[in-house]
Symmetry: C2
Subunit: 456 residues, 2 copies
């Protein structure tokens, strides 16, 4: 059942939440679908409540049963069958309840959170994972039309809100195909099951935007990305990758003719009817592109040290991370891990096991996180990719996470899958007598810029 703390969290009553915590309410209790009060606050976009709850709990970040990373757990049901249903889509687009997310130059428009002392401090590297600094600006159809006059020609259907209690349990709500308009009955009690979300693009200048919506600002990428709460970050990730794909695919790569968006943004069709891509067959060029990338925490043969590198192109000079690289045609995930590590450091890797995955909207990467064990340890770096690479002892890795490293070396923030892989390795390298794993409350963290790739 639901606790008082859950109700207060869902309703965004931060003073009630603070009082309940002070009186001993347990923030780790879950309801019948496995959600904590914080899960509910995140879904209902109450940043202040999320911050209170997260600083009151000491949950370790790595949930081994359910390794979901930042940018995962998109709360929307993509309802892909609706994409080709023009009548339904027209109704959803013009529905006054539908939500429009607006991107400008691939950056989402957001509302800085006034109740949070870190407002607009997007470049603060000492923020916590759950320090929500901005919320996504949600526009109605009428508002979105002002910002994006050709909306009906170019939009992305992101999906529909699911039943509120199901959003974080991995369930999809069963429904009839004609249930779309049923939600009107429920809206009086804030129950928006079935409400549609769209992403559109605005070409307005910052000045023009400010004139229409004074409280709105453009969230810089990737530095500001970790300022959003999880559910909104996941939605932005989907929207940004889709729009970046359209941005780079205005022309057919098979014949060079102009192409046009179809199926609510999930397909591009070549305008040249004679083009091979219109003749049937498996023409992947018509569908959104994703770039699978392996990222791997590689331990020394005795599992006591971790291989970390410092990228030449990275913006933050003291930040180290695990190695990563794009996969190529004709290799498995495990082969790609071994190849990348060998290419960058000449270290040979034996066993490789999958850990978790994470979509990354730069522009549309699928990060595939693995843990591997080296079978030798001599390092010869590839100087075109890395500035440095070396083996780090467990104790040093902990200092980097804690922010207590004597040379101020740091690691990527919890939002990055790299961080989660490092935590996982630390757990596996610990002997029972050692210090327990650090938790998110014990250490400062950074924005997710570390993993950004400034070039391929």
């Amino acid at each position: 059942g639901w606790t008082a703390l859950m109700f207060a969290s869902k309703n965004g009553q931060s003073h009630v939440v603070r009082e309940l915590i002070r009186k001993g309410s347990d923030p780790l209790k879950v309801n019948s679908t496995g959600q904590t009060a914080q899960d509910l606050a995140e879904f209902w976009l109450h940043g202040e409540v999320v911050n209170i709850l997260s600083s009151s709990t000491s949950q370790p970040e790595v949930n081994l049963q359910r390794r979901t990373n930042y940018l995962c757990d998109n709360p929307l049901d993509r309802s892909s069958k609706k994409r080709s249903d023009d009548v339904w889509m027209k109704g959803a687009l013009t529905d006054p309840l539908s939500v429009f997310v607006v991107l400008s130059g691939l950056c989402p428009l957001v509302i800085p959170l006034n109740e949070n002392k870190l407002v607009n401090d997007f470049f603060n590297f000492n923020s916590q994972l759950s320090d929500v600094k901005a919320k996504l600006a949600r526009f109605s159809y009428e508002q979105a039309l002002q910002l994006s006059p050709n909306l009906l020609q170019y939009y992305i259907f992101l999906g529909r809100e699911q039943n509120e209690v199901d959003t974080t349990s991995g369930r999809n709500h069963k429904e009839d195909d004609d249930d779309y308009h049923r939600h009107h009955r429920h809206q009086q009690r804030g129950y928006h099951h079935g409400r549609s979300w769209f992403a559109v693009e605005t070409k307005l200048s910052p000045t023009e935007l400010h004139a229409i919506e004074p409280g709105i600002t453009k969230l810089p990428f990737p530095l500001g990305f970790s300022s959003l709460m999880r559910s909104e970050a996941a939605i932005v990730c989907q929207a940004r990758s889709m729009m970046a794909w359209h941005d780079r695919n205005q022309f057919c790569s098979t014949c060079g003719s102009a192409s046009v968006a179809e199926e609510a943004g999930y397909k591009r069709r070549c305008r040249n009817d004679a083009c091979k891509s219109n003749k049937g067959g498996a023409y992947n060029t018509c569908y959104p592109r994703l770039d699978p990338t392996v990222i791997m925490a590689i331990s020394s043969p005795d599992n006591k040290r971790l291989l970390l590198g410092r990228n030449k192109r990275r913006h933050i000079p003291n930040m180290w991370s695990v190695l990563a690289g794009f996969m190529e045609p004709g290799e498995s995930i495990e082969e790609a891990c071994r190849r990348e590590v060998f290419e960058e450091t000449r270290v040979n890797v034996g066993e490789v096991s999958y850990h978790s995955s994470q979509p990354w909207p730069m522009p549309s990467t699928l990060m595939i996180g693995c843990i591997g064990r080296a079978i030798d340890s001599d390092i010869v770096i590839d100087e075109s990719e890395l500035a440095e690479a070396r083996w780090f002892q467990t104790s040093e890795v902990k200092q980097m996470l804690d922010g207590t490293h004597p040379e101020c070396l740091t690691l990527p923030p919890p939002q990055a899958i790299a961080h989660q892989l490092i935590l996982q390795w630390l757990g596996s390298s610990e002997t029972p007598g050692d210090t327990p794993l650090v938790t998110s409350q014990d250490r400062p963290s950074m924005t997710s810029s570390a993993l950004s790739k400034s070039s391929l």
Copy 2:
């Protein structure tokens, strides 16, 4: 150390191998780098020996410690740093020892194996995994120039042969950068460490090809694909995906101008210098595309039944398989599994765990294999995708694998990751008292056409 059986297998002496097996030689013995006699025969392309050894052993196909699928274990080191070294590449291209693989309409040229009774029987559905029916035709530079006169303008550098004893252990051989020409010293004893492989395209007609190379034939795709031995199939997979990418990307998708191949086939550059894609930044459109696809064996909530579907577009009417679908931007692997199963059957999935991966050259898919557990079991199929979907009992799945199903229902062959996922599920659903897992010798199998995707 090496046994007599290993030496005979490496040298392709099938009569010696047969005699040694008859006298009790153990085919499962491994040398110091973990290779069996069959591994050596596969690497050295002795199809007859592979067949003898495989029918003499009863190794279960699923090696839980090292789940490598057909099309993985590419024996070549991609040596990606050489791709932009024009001087080195010119030397490797014209080296008389270099090996050229030739594709015609994306199908590789092969030599049917005369010693095998199944020669040319590409459509035989009862062949074993290791029934090697053809070997890849290997051409020299001079021969390749005849088949592909503009070879120097369009070729793919596949990589270099590694030290023979390291090919199946996941190791890469350490080497100096200038060791390329050193292999000449070793060639007298068949030791071709460092020998380069390339793929080129021929536009010659079958008649013209036959006039030049009478023993050569075009291997049909995907039906003939499983006729190659593992190491060659992996090389063809890489070559075919790369060539399919060039085939579909003759033009820049950002501006519509013509593009040109660079970096030994691993990059395409837009010829329009003013194009955004030439201005730096992460322009993924310049690099080979890969399509990550989830494929998942989903069990019933009690783990006693398996969810299988029959695709509308599949060529073989009685073949059932696990569900699969392309990933989309902004989702994790686990989310994609749940979404696909829900979209196709309305079954909700809870836990999902990764099993293994497989590259698939149709045209360049990365199959990401998972095992998942449903949290409900009512099926409503998506009729645009599936002809049928239902839950199968363990006993029925075994009959399908054994070829003893009363309605002649079958499953994909061992070469397909789907088959390996099903075997894995069968293992997990078995109680200790049950019949042990079937092995490859106990059951007939099929060509890998089952997984082919006739359209996106």
